[in-house]
Every structure is written in structure tokens, then in C-alpha cells.
Symmetry: none
Subunit: 213 residues, 4 copies
């Protein structure tokens, strides 16, 4: 009780900012960036219009910030997951596990609609875009690291560089995610990702073997 006075002014302000942010997030997810205006956001947050501009420079900057949060969050999650895997796990299994994890994260903590907005944004040329030019750059790096480790221990053989293989993986995941965004709910991201990556891993094995081509 007396929750009110428990909050310092600073905390109160942070709470307001959070209310606005959360409202914006919800509404953006529900209706897309362009269909939501500042009035909607502040009304939903229960604050005055001016308050929005106390906490955020502009609508576009809020969007950019929000997108960055998503990107960072997922990147961190992926890497943490990989580092939690047993070090002696075969590279092949690690890649499959990561593919599954990515699907889990995208499905559960981002969601289809939101992911669609993320991808739309990345395809766009607006000022928003420049805030997130490199969504997936960290994923590239992560795949590089995993494959590089496999190549260096000779557990994994391929005429391709770790970077090239990582590119195939990222490209594949782009396609999987896109297809999911567009076909949901008729496309189970995790299931498809695992199948697709299995084929890809087979392909890379075969590609590296002498009898190929």
C-alpha cells in the first residue's frame, strides 16, 4: 500500500516511459508502424501527448530504438544459448540445435507479425532502416564461430570458408523466416527449419566429399 509514494520521481518517470514504450510496442505489433499514430499511443498509455515527446525524440526514433532492442535481445539470446551447449557437441548437432533455438526465440518472443515488421523495415529505405542495417550480422558471426571451430578441429570438412558456409545458413534462415511470416500459421517454423538445415548440412557434407560435382 502507498505504492505511489514508494516511487521516486525518477522511478515514476521511468514508469511513464515504459508505459508509453509498452503501448507503442503493443500497438505497433497489432497494427504496424504506419497505422499507429502518437495519439493512439498516448491514449493507450493514459498520458498526455506532450509526454511522448518528453521521453522520445520522435516516432521514427522510437521505432528505431525498439527495433534495435529486438535485434540485440535476440542476438544475445542466441549466443548465450550456444555457449550453454556442451563443448563436445558435434558441430552438426550444434548447428541444428541453434536452428531450433532461433525458431523458438522468433516464434515465442518476437512473434510472426512483429517479425514481419522487422523484415519490412529492413527492406525499406526510410530513416528507420538505417537504425538496423545489420540485423543478423551477429548471427553471421555466431555461425562463423561455430563452423570455424568445426573446421579447425577437422571435425567438419568443406572446401568452403566458414564465412561462406555461414552465409548459406543465414540466407536459409532468412527464407525460412520470411516464409513463416507470410504463410503463418500454415508453416511451422521450427519443424521446417530443422528439416531444411538437415538437408543443408547433408549438402555441405556431400559438397565437400571428393566424389561430388
Amino acid at each position: 500500500m502507498q505504492e505511489k509514494s514508494f516511487k521516486s520521481r525518477r522511478e515514476q518517470a521511468a514508469a511513464t516511459k515504459q508505459k508509453i514504450y509498452a503501448s507503442a510496442e503493443q500497438l505497433f505489433l497489432r497494427h504496424g508502424f504506419d497505422a499507429v499514430n502518437i495519439d493512439d499511443i498516448v491514449k493507450h498509455a493514459g498520458v498526455a501527448k506532450g509526454s511522448f515527446y518528453v521521453h522520445f525524440e520522435s516516432k521514427n526514433l522510437l521505432i528505431a530504438t525498439m527495433i534495435n532492442h529486438y535485434v540485440w535481445k535476440t542476438d544475445d539470446e542466441y549466443r548465450a544459448y550456444w555457449e550453454s551447449l556442451p563443448p563436445d557437441l558435434p558441430v552438426r548437432d550444434a548447428v541444428l540445435a541453434l536452428a531450433g533455438k532461433i525458431a523458438d526465440v522468433i516464434t515465442a518472443s518476437i512473434g510472426c507479425k512483429n517479425m514481419g515488421i522487422l523484415y519490412q523495415t529492413q527492406l525499406g529505405e526510410s530513416n528507420r532502416t538505417h537504425a538496423m542495417i545489420d540485423y543478423n550480422r551477429a548471427l553471421y558471426q555466431l555461425f562463423c564461430d561455430i563452423i570455424g571451430k568445426g573446421l579447425s578441429t577437422h571435425e567438419f570438412r568443406s572446401p568452403l570458408s566458414a564465412y561462406e558456409i555461414a552465409r548459406h545458413f543465414v540466407t536459409a534462415y532468412r527464407g525460412l523466416t520470411f516464409e513463416w511470416c507470410v504463410r503463418d500459421p500454415d508453416f511451422d517454423l521450427k519443424e521446417q527449419a530443422l528439416r531444411h538445415f538437415e538437408i543443408l548440412l547433408h549438402g555441405l557434407d556431400a559438397y565437400g566429399s571428393p566424389h561430388s560435382t
Copy 2:
């Protein structure tokens, strides 16, 4: 007696419609749907604003129509290309050839920016989206046909259905195209598509072999 002026009037009208359509197309490609307004279009076409609404119900409907044209056009091109291939071409080679052809079409006759707009539109939720909800459906069908033929002649073996394999192909192409849109010009679509499909085909081979899994 009046036929001539009737016809010329009809022709005139068609010409006006075409002028507007072509202007809209050019401008949309250059700047995106949202950055182009009716004023821009009619000014570029050299006609009056009212003429736009004589020939098109609304901006959104024009966009939908235009997208459909694109979809049909490319679909036809792909199928015509396949039908032009020698009937005895191995399925594997046909798939690779088609992958290359698709890259050619997308690169040359659609372009990176435009493709991005198409993909953005597909990811969106607006009324525009419904116009192209089935972009690539024909491609699915085409891959299905190719693979189905291979499976039925036993030239190609796989525990997967033709439909499933087609889905892997389409998904892969989605990723390739997306990556190209985002990374251009540092990502050569055709080269990457051929490499990626080669791996995928290897993977499918291996996947189908008894020693796999």
C-alpha cells in the same frame, strides 16, 4: 461512320490509362508506394488528377493490379523457360537452370529496389497484401512439376514428396532474394543462387540415400 472517332476515342482512353500506369510503375519502382502520391503520378503522366480516377478505382487498387501483373509476368516467364528446356535434361540440371533463370529475371526485369517493395508488400497487412498473397504460388507449382516428373521417372529419388521439396526450393529462393535485396550490390544473386541450390541438391540426394540420418 462514327466508327473512326469511336475507335480513336477508345484508343485515346487506353493510351491515357497506359500513360498513368507506366508513370505509376516507374515512380513506385523509384521511390516506393508510400512515397509516391497521385499528384506525382499524374504530373509525370502529363494528365489531370481526375483522369486517374477515371481509369483506376483507387491508389491501392492500382497497386494491387500492378503487383498482379508482375506476379503473372514472372510466373509465365519461368514456365515458358522451363518448357523451352530440352525434355531430356536431367532434373538436377533443370532445377539449376531454373534457379539461374529466376535470378536473371529478378535482376534484370524487376530490379533490387522493386523486389524489395514487392517483398515488403507481401510482408505487410494492408489491403495491398491480398493482391499478392500468392506471389510464388506458381513457382511452387513449377518446382512441383519439375520434381514430380523426376520422381515419377525415378530419375530422382527422395523420401520427400514433390511438394515438400518444392517448398525447400521456394524457401531457399526467398532467402536468396531477401539477402540480395538487403545486401545488394555485395551479394550476387545468380552466383549465390547457383551455389546454394547446388548444396541443396546435394543435400536432397544424400537425404534420400539409405546411409543418411
Copy 3:
């Protein structure tokens, strides 16, 4: 009767533009540029807000245009007046007559408030200003011409160039006008202008004489 159909669409449009312009003019004069907004203008004109932007690019551009009209109008009036004076009128009398005429024009067809806005604008640095950098440039030229004629016929003697003398006249008129804007109605522009110019003319005579300094 049937006044309506007498007007072609073009005339109708011109009438609307004029209504907006006239409303803006009135309101600006009454309340100043900054105290009047687009809503006020269109409401006063009895048209929709969008109509304003059909006829004028922006509020600032309208203001600039309006100011230019004033400037041109007065310049033309001054020169026409001078050309209407008898060619054999002594320069001294011509200058005095012009000084009086200027006062008449400013007083009657511009008005005190308006003149104040003009001067304010000229002192400002806003985008409006650049539209009228040279209010009074034509007046400079006119004085130059009058004095130059007097100097060339030796009717008028001075060690100063026509340009320098013109500058003294223009400067003096600036002061008279400014004082009028600020002191009105306690400062009779015409009376003061005539007195001041008489002194100035005497001063120039004396200045040119050998016994001066």
C-alpha cells in the same frame, strides 16, 4: 442573375484564390503574420483548409508574395508620379513633391500597421525576409535619377555623387517612416517628411557651397 454560370472554372478558381489572398491580407494587417494561422484565413475566406494549399505553397510563401506585391506596387506608383511631373520642374521641388507623394502612398494605400509589418519583416532573418531583401531599391534608383538629372544640368550642385545624395534621402525616409509606424497617430508623416526634406535640401545646398564646413 445567373452570376454563377458566368464564371468559367478558371475564373472561379481565380476568385477563390483572391478570396483567400484578401482574407489573409486583412487578417495579417489586423493581427500580424504570426498571430494569424491557416485556419483563420480559410475560415474567413469561407473555404476548406486544403484549398489554401491548392493556391499557395505555404504560409511563408504567401507572405513573401504579398510583401512583394506591396513593394512593386509602391515602386511603380512613385516612378509614375515622377514621370507625370512637368519636366521643367526644379529638382528641389521635384524631390519635395516626391517626398510628399511617398507619404501619401504609404499613408493611404499601405497604412501604418502594414508598413510596420513590412519593416519588421525586413529587419528579420526569417525565410520571409529573403523575398524582399531590397525594399526601397527602386526608390534609391528613382532618387538617383532625379538628382543625376539635376547634377547634369548643373541646376543642382554638390560635391557628393547622385548615389550618395540618394542614400541620404532614402535613409531619411526610412527614419520618417519608422517614426511614423511607432508614433502614429502623433506623427503626421507627410508634414514631417516635407519639413525634414526641406532641411535636408538646405543642408545639401549649404554643404556644396564654398563657405561650408
Copy 4:
């Protein structure tokens, strides 16, 4: 006992007020009244927004106060200067000296931009204007005193009253200052003021002489 902390608190408050005032002054001079907002001022002063309203009732009142300071300051400076002149200096020379002094003050301690803002304000109608409705009233008085002294000693003759002559001087200075504000740096205020006043003084001499008119 408490005197010290009382005083330091008072001093602190005064210091804060002064910081705000100085910041506002600087920014107003640099960018004009309307282009500077309270946020700019307090940020520049390094205090909180609320502090502004602790020390000043409103933005407009601060502006009014500031203008008054300017007016008083310059008026005092002019009078002090005159009083510092040798009492037996001829009126004519005193007037010229004062004209030069005014130019010095305006040029050095007010500046062109600032003077423009002052003049703009004076031409305006806002509540600000009332704060400086009497800018130059003291200058009137000063000129009156100087000329009155000359007239009373018969060192100076004129059919005009001291007040009327003062008005011509003030009016002339208005014009000079305005022209400077608008033409700077192509118009050297001091040089032009001295020349213009010389002509004016000649004119007044001649005007007073029997052979004039």
C-alpha cells in the same frame, strides 16, 4: 547565526537568476526572441526548467525586462557622455560628437542583429512592445537639452523649437540605424551618421537664416 546561510541562499538564488538572464540575453541576441525557447535558455544556463519560473513570471516578461535594461543602459551612457564633454564645446560639435558616440555604442555594445531585434520589437504589437514603447524617449530629451542650451545662449538660431529639432535628429538617427541593420556590413554607421548629421546641421543653419526658403 543563520545569517550566513540565509545570505548564501539569497546569493545562490541571485546567481541562478543571473545565469538564466545572461543565457537568455546571449541566445536572444544570437537567434532572436521567437527562435529561442525556455528549454534552450535553461539548458544553456545549466539549470532546471522549473527554475526559470521561479525567477521570471513568463518569457514575455523576461523579454520586456531585458529590453528595458537595454534602453536604460544606453540612455545613461549617452547622457554620461554628454556630461563628460567640455561645457564650452559648441552645440554643433556636441551634436556631432553625440552622433558619433551613439554609433559607437550601438555598434560595439549592442550589435547589428540585436539592434534589428530591438527595432522589430518596437514595430510589433505584442505585449513585448509596450516594454520599449519609449525607447529613445531619453534620447529625445537629451537632444532637447543640448539644443535648448544652444538656443538659450543664442549660440544656435532657429525658428524651430528645441523639441522639433530634436525630433529631426531622432528621426534621422532612426533612419541611419535602420539602414545599418538592413545593409550591414555595407553601411558604416558611424561614418554615415556623421555625414548625415553634418548635412542636417547645415540645413538647420540655412533654414534659420533670413535668406532661406
